[in-house]
């Protein structure tokens, strides 16, 4: 327990380094402002059509997850590579802690950051739209009829959506972490992870041309985990199950973290 308590201090340190930065608060401000803006626009144009709180929440959440993903990648790159470019890594590693503990504390702090932003997104989009459009208990357009959750409550559907997106977020963060531990340069880590995220669907499209079954094991299609919620599959030619996608994501998650661990622990620090 004492060991755990002192390990928590490392996480506290990482939290301090995240939340004492102005950029973090700007990110949080954007995460709050965007759904408010979208709700206002919806409110203005939707006077005659029948917008409801759940539909607007879904649209805004889709936009927000893209943003939260970018913010989390930026923060995870900053968390590891930033220490190298500042030179503070030298002061950080000459303490009675293993490098594995230091890296783990950083990873936990970034996951907490992603969790906070996910929670804020949920709270803001829910509140703003309930205030603007009133509460609808049974929206007819939110859940597609072929969805495995068809007929259940909008709460359950929305929470599943957020859970799926958070799982994807965790994988993307560990990818950014890996690049940042391997290259020790935040610019390269941020640039490369965002490129791969956005070029992901393009790369998938290209691989589809090869028409090979191994495309099922490529990471990018499975980042669209929420496709299953709509009763669809990420790859129309090679149908997979939700559990299969989770499995693929889990394997990538482990591999990314194993690479970060090795890069961070084994290599000499001569920055």
């Amino acid at each position: 327990m004492r060991r755990l308590a002192s390990f928590w201090k490392l996480v506290q340190n990482e939290n301090m380094k995240i939340y004492r930065r102005v950029s973090t608060w700007i990110m949080l401000g954007i995460t709050v402002a965007i759904p408010l803006l979208v709700t206002i626009i919806f409110g203005l144009v939707a006077e005659d059509n029948n917008a409801n709180n759940w539909g607007a929440m879904m649209t805004e959440s889709e936009i927000l997850f893209l943003l939260v993903m970018i913010f989390s990648v930026v923060k995870s790159a900053e968390s590891v590579a930033g220490e190298f470019s500042r030179g503070t890594i030298k002061l950080l590693l000459i303490r009675p802690w293993s490098r594995a503990s230091i890296l783990l504390s950083k990873f936990i702090a970034i996951l907490l950051f992603a969790l906070l932003f996910t929670a804020v997104s949920f709270a803001v989009t829910w509140l703003a739209n309930v205030l603007a459009f009133g509460y609808t208990a049974h929206p007819d357009s939110l859940i597609p009829s072929q969805s495995p959750l068809a007929g259940s409550s909008p709460w359950l559907f929305m929470l599943r959506y957020y859970l799926d997106e958070f799982i994807v977020l965790a994988v993307v963060v560990s990818f950014g972490f890996m690049l940042s531990a391997a290259f020790r340069s935040s610019g390269l880590a941020i640039g490369l992870s965002l490129f791969l995220l956005f070029a992901g669907s393009m790369i998938t499209g290209l691989l589809m041309l090869a028409d090979q079954a191994w495309i099922k094991f490529v990471l990018f299609p499975h980042l669209g985990l929420t496709t299953y919620l709509n009763g669809s599959v990420p790859l129309s030619d090679y149908p997979t199950t939700y559990a299969f996608s989770l499995g693929v994501l889990a394997v990538y998650f482990i591999v990314f973290n194993a690479v970060s661990w090795t890069a961070f622990i084994k290599r000499d620090v001569s920055a």
């Binding site: 201090k9 930065r21 293993s98």
Partner: protein
């Protein structure tokens, strides 16, 4: 002192590819000693320090700190070390105080009172709640020292600590390091390429060149003299030639401006003085000639300049 050394390097070697950066370096630093690590730029000083604090691995050999191997018992060994490696890089967007809280949390048992104590010790009370980005280099250096001594280390490692300090700051640092080594028994390991500074600061220096240890020597006049038994002494007298005649047979004297110099042990020097005075020669002064570190350095490195 028969105490075990605080830090001991045994045949420490670092190879990168086929190049040997550090070659079988062996040395020891004792408690209460200010130890200088001297060498030209690029001679391997920082590489050695990085190996001491575990930032880079050794290709061969081992380093023990307070009896713990850096290789096999890293947390135990490093918990006794405070260090600044190269520049005192801090989190610039945090205040000095937040930086200290950050590093304080990483060692057990560092209280708020201890942080305040250290802040007062390095003289940063007035600015400690400012963001580090507003600090001058000298203030960052002080903050660097503060984070290094927070946990009362047995070994304090400072890499080029006088970089960016003004003369008053250098003097303050020197006095402070002396105090730390005398009063708390801390072993202080300082690297530098500035000879004159090392001379004022250190008890012993090791000189390295191209990754090899060339020499270790003591800089304290008393201990150096005691070890050698003999000292170079300059006698300032009114009639040098007469004085040398009086001392005939008592070592070879060399004439210098305003007097003569001899090599003798302490007792003989006192005897010589008595004889001179009895012979009615006026002795204005007797000075032990201490070779400057620069002289010594040039002696051992064969005249190659450093810095």
């Amino acid at each position: 002192m028969s105490q075990a050394p605080v830090v001991s390097l045994q045949n420490v070697t670092k190879r990168i590819g086929s190049r040997t950066i550090i070659d079988r370096l062996t040395l020891e630093v004792n408690a209460g000693e200010v130890f200088g690590f001297l060498g030209p730029n690029g001679s391997g000083k920082t590489t050695t320090i990085r190996m001491m604090v575990g930032l880079i691995t050794m290709s061969a050999g081992d380093i023990t700190i307070a009896g713990h191997s850096v290789k096999s018992a890293f947390p135990q060994a490093i918990s006794r070390v405070g260090a600044i490696v190269e520049n005192p890089e801090m989190y610039k967007y945090l205040t000095g105080y937040q930086n200290l809280i950050h590093f304080g949390r990483m060692n057990p048992g560092i209280t708020k009172a201890r942080i305040d104590e250290v802040v007062a010790l390095v003289g940063l009370q007035d600015r400690i709640h400012d963001k580090v980005k507003k600090y001058s280099l000298g203030m960052r250096q002080r903050l660097g020292v503060a984070q290094a001594i927070l946990h009362r280390p047995a070994l304090l490692i400072l890499d080029e600590p006088t970089n960016g300090l003004d003369p008053a700051g250098i003097r303050e640092l020197r006095d402070y390091l002396r105090k730390l080594s005398r009063e708390e028994g801390t072993a202080v390991f300082v690297s530098s390429h500035l000879l004159s500074e090392m001379e004022l600061m250190c008890d012993r220096v090791a000189i390295i060149q191209k990754g090899e240890l060339i020499d270790i020597r003591s800089l304290r006049a008393e201990s150096a003299g005691a070890a050698a038994g003999m000292e170079d002494v300059l006698f300032e007298v009114d009639r040098p030639s007469e004085a040398v005649t009086v001392l005939e047979g008592r070592g070879s004297a060399r004439f210098v401006e305003g007097g003569f110099s001899v090599t003798a042990d302490r007792e003989t020097i006192a005897d010589m003085n008595a004889r001179l005075v009895q012979a009615g020669i006026r002795v204005y002064g007797i000075r032990v000639k201490v070779k400057s570190l620069e002289d010594q350095f040039l002696e051992v490195t064969g005249g190659e300049t450093i810095g």
